[in-house]
Symmetry: D2
Subunit: 143 residues, 4 copies
């Protein structure tokens, strides 16, 4: 069972990241070690030439979302940090559909959390990107 | 020899990415297959809790910078796309020093360009991150 | 539907890789874009100090297995080559259980195939490693 | 300064890995945080159809070599383990030239060591592969 609810995660995010986070992500589902998040495509900042969602926006989305999924497991510890992120971009995301991320934790250890994310343009079953991440967990969090 | 100069790259970037690019990158050196770029840290948008430059800003910087380095080699083709990016975050970047990227192309093929980037906080010899990237090159560019 | 059956894949592998392949992999299931393979742990060559399966053996297993899964889709073209492999090692595999790989193709394009693999020690639901791969597909294969 | 010499590393490797290691690697240079190793191409096991060195042999080489470079820094601790390896294959290595690895440590922390490797076919300045690795360091090693 996660230690934090969707509401607690959203509140944590609003408090700590409001200024620095241009994404309007919405957590749609949090269920054990998996989570689904939505990134609304409403903002020219995410787009790049050719009218597609930019790669950096997708990476931002994965990184910020997985951070929340890790927090949900270990509690509101602001100091977990990404140590590695690997992403393969496979298809151009639609510029007229929200991006949906399906993410899961594959390992939650004492020092490291590892997981991956599949990104979709809403309504299309073929993933646009696949991202693998490792987070370093601070040593004295309570679990 | 690159096909484009620093001035041509900056002009291309201003024309195609002005709206979508929150970074104020400056190309400092372009020399064959290597390039040095600066990302001024002047903007709260790049910062995250703890006063460090955010990981997504660093990824954005690598991705956008390497794109320009590839363009410099193949000419102003707006359609090169990232297929893979792998980044290891090694140290917290300073929030009071600009980020410097030293990047190089390791392979420039017909279909793929591969390279890597070392990121530094200016004045510190220890890298803050290392990023490896693959770009897909559109088939009919003129070379 | 795959173009090749398990029997055809095993025959192809015996013909082309017998000499160079120290693994005794067995394809257990091939179903559309997914495949399950078994690597029997019977051989000191796979082991490393501490009595666990070595990382390189796991990487070999992922690479060789995904190659067969791609072949199953595009037909017996010996020239598909790996362009990128990213693996996270998460838990020590048991040295007394076979390794099971669950792999899937996430994208099968004209030029690139992308997919991932979860590796398990048989009987344990927690994955020991997660691997993401990109294969370059030769231009003139028949599809 | 490394804590171990080339001779000590070779002795450690002979003692712990003789049975499991099909590579005949030779450390040619160890200098602070960098190392050069040679993999002689004398052995059909490394080759794949088309007469090139196999990808898994190159991965094995990177992983085993970087392990030794980390040991050289922290002393003969047999329990450092790879947590992540990312490799891009860029050119077909020659089947008639030894493979040379130029590796470096980019970060040597308390918990993690990060570095990369460039692989060459001897005599050719264009790299055949680039590999980025993270090793987890056991908590109580003496430094």
């Amino acid at each position: 069972m996660p230690l934090m609810t969707i509401q607690e995660l959203e509140a944590f995010r609003a408090e700590h990241f409001a200024q620095s986070d241009p994404l309007k992500m919405k957590i749609e589902k949090l269920d054990g070690m998996t989570m689904r998040i939505r990134m609304p495509i409403e903002d020219a900042q995410h787009l790049r030439p050719g009218g597609t969602v930019s790669g950096p926006s997708l990476m931002f989305f994965c990184d910020a979302g997985f951070y929340l999924l890790v927090l949900a497991q270990i509690g509101p510890v602001a100091l977990a940090v990404t140590t590695n992120l690997n992403i393969s971009f496979m298809r151009r995301p639609s510029s007229s559909a929200d991006v949906i991320a399906e993410m899961r934790i594959l390992k939650l250890g004492q020092k490291l959390a590892v997981g991956d994310v599949l990104l979709f343009s809403e309504g299309d079953p073929d993933p646009v990107a696949h991202c693998q991440m490792t987070y370093s967990i601070p040593p004295k969090h309570k679990r």
